[in-house]
Amino acid sequence: MKGIYELMERFTVSLDDFIKYIMKKWKIVLAIILVVTTSFVFSATFLENKITIPPSEDYANLKEQEASFETYIDNSPLMKIDSTNVYERIIYLSNIIDRESLKNYVEAGRVWDNWDDENFRHYFSDLVTWYDSTTQTAEIKIQHYEEEECEKLAKYLVEQLHRYDNELRVLSGDALVSRDETIADVQTWYINRLDDIQGQLEHTGAGYMIEVTVPTAVVIGAMAGTILSLGCLFLLFLYGKKEV
């Protein structure tokens, strides 16, 4: 062990000798600093004076989900319904020949293909609920937050069902104003899910931009160049070129 310490002692240097060596080799120090500083300035210019750390993949996915949920909450009529004051109409169906096909037609949203307002076609599937009854009958419940719109939907649906199957018997029930807690549950679910996503976003890397101006690049380059030049000179000093 003592031999190892004696061997290691040979690698120690006097600070005064090292400082004298640096002063003698000042041209090398200056050259390295200039090269490194120029590289930093060139890199900063090449990078358009900014270093951008992109957002993480998780952040991008969450942002997409957030946008999707926000759009739905802002535009879906379901989210605007007051669950204690819902306009409803039931459509009674009988003489159904192919129940599955009819159910798919209603629930898959194809029934809205001829609806005027293209933007909101996909939201109205949420306002229409299919209820299975006995084999030959079924019910469709239509809900909306406006009575007039509810009537419009019901009329349209009846027309489309007649067109789909002219053997089908369609009977429109009376208009109702009711209370529906399931709508409140659905609305709460969407709002909570959006809150949850926004909470996750706070802990996910959104990305960061570091502005690197030319003066900053010069300072950082000079510091890096100084450290590099001192390191190189130290190694030169240590391994045999100890000129004082």
Binding site: S14, F18, A206, G207, Y208
Partner: protein, 363 residues
Amino acid sequence: MYRLIKYFFEILMMFVVYVLCDAPGSKKYIVIVLMELGFFVAGRKKKWSVDAIICIFLPVIVYFLVGFIGTFINASEYVETIKIIVFWLLPLMFAFSLYVFYGEKMSHIVDVQFIGSCLAYLIPKGRFILETITVESMFAYAYGAFFVYYAYKKRWGFCAIAVVLMLLTDKRIVLLAAIFAVLIQGFLWLFRNDKRLSLGIWGIASVIINIYLWLIYSGTLQRFCEGVGINTNGRTKMYGKVTEWFGQNFFMSGQGIGIVEILLSAWRVKDFANLHNDLLKLHIELGFIGLLLFLTSYGIVFYLVGKKYDTSKMKLFLSMTIYTMMLFATDNVSIYIIYLIPVYSIYFAVLTEKHPKEMIEKV
């Protein structure tokens, strides 16, 4: 035989001390105070080194003086002020009482403390270690300090044990800070523990500390950590909230000792009874100028140690202080007696030892 029995009782005593340090509650402080009084009484006729006392007490004295000025100016003296003072004084006085009793044998009692702390961690947590390998513990801070000390002493066996225990106690900052502190020791050794270089390194460290605090006050650190996705367990958010309370003024005057604890308890933030950043806490308590004075007091300590003792001891003080400052940057170790007792004991041990195992350097 007598020596073995004495050794056994010393280890048992330190085992009890460290078990108490790790336990919650305030009754442990009463036991430690009683032990202190016992050591002071038993060692009252022994000689002390005034130089050693000045070197170790100076930063604490500066903290109290500057902190009290802020406390009285802002009329912010509260129970928390007294509590912080007790947290700072208790481990220092305990180490001092050990020094008073043991004198030149302090390095022996540091070894005993290390063994006692190992047992105090391994015995209660051994079962969990077998299941999960790592069991997070505040002992990590102490083992980091022991690692820095034994690396300085070149006692590689104890160093290796300290490394294993640091890994088991699983605190990221401890590993980083301890390794960095030992690298500083290695760097200084390359230049034969040059005094000017040591003071220069402390100057650079002080500048870095102020830059770090400025990054917190400007909100840059918080934005960067959130942007890049670094999990700080809510720390950067809390730093932002506290600095906003004080007007985000980096050049503020000191608000007094204990002010941060008062603020956090008024906010009743769950999981944040402490700020988890002692550097920021010191800055708020002492102010910009006060913190500079506090950091300068460490520089004076290093200078005095280099002048009155030798430059290798100065190296230990510098590396241990840098280790401490790195812990201060992300946690509240200034109130952890489990960390401060070994650190102050190590300081007394280093200043009282006669023949350090080192290369003989030119003075």
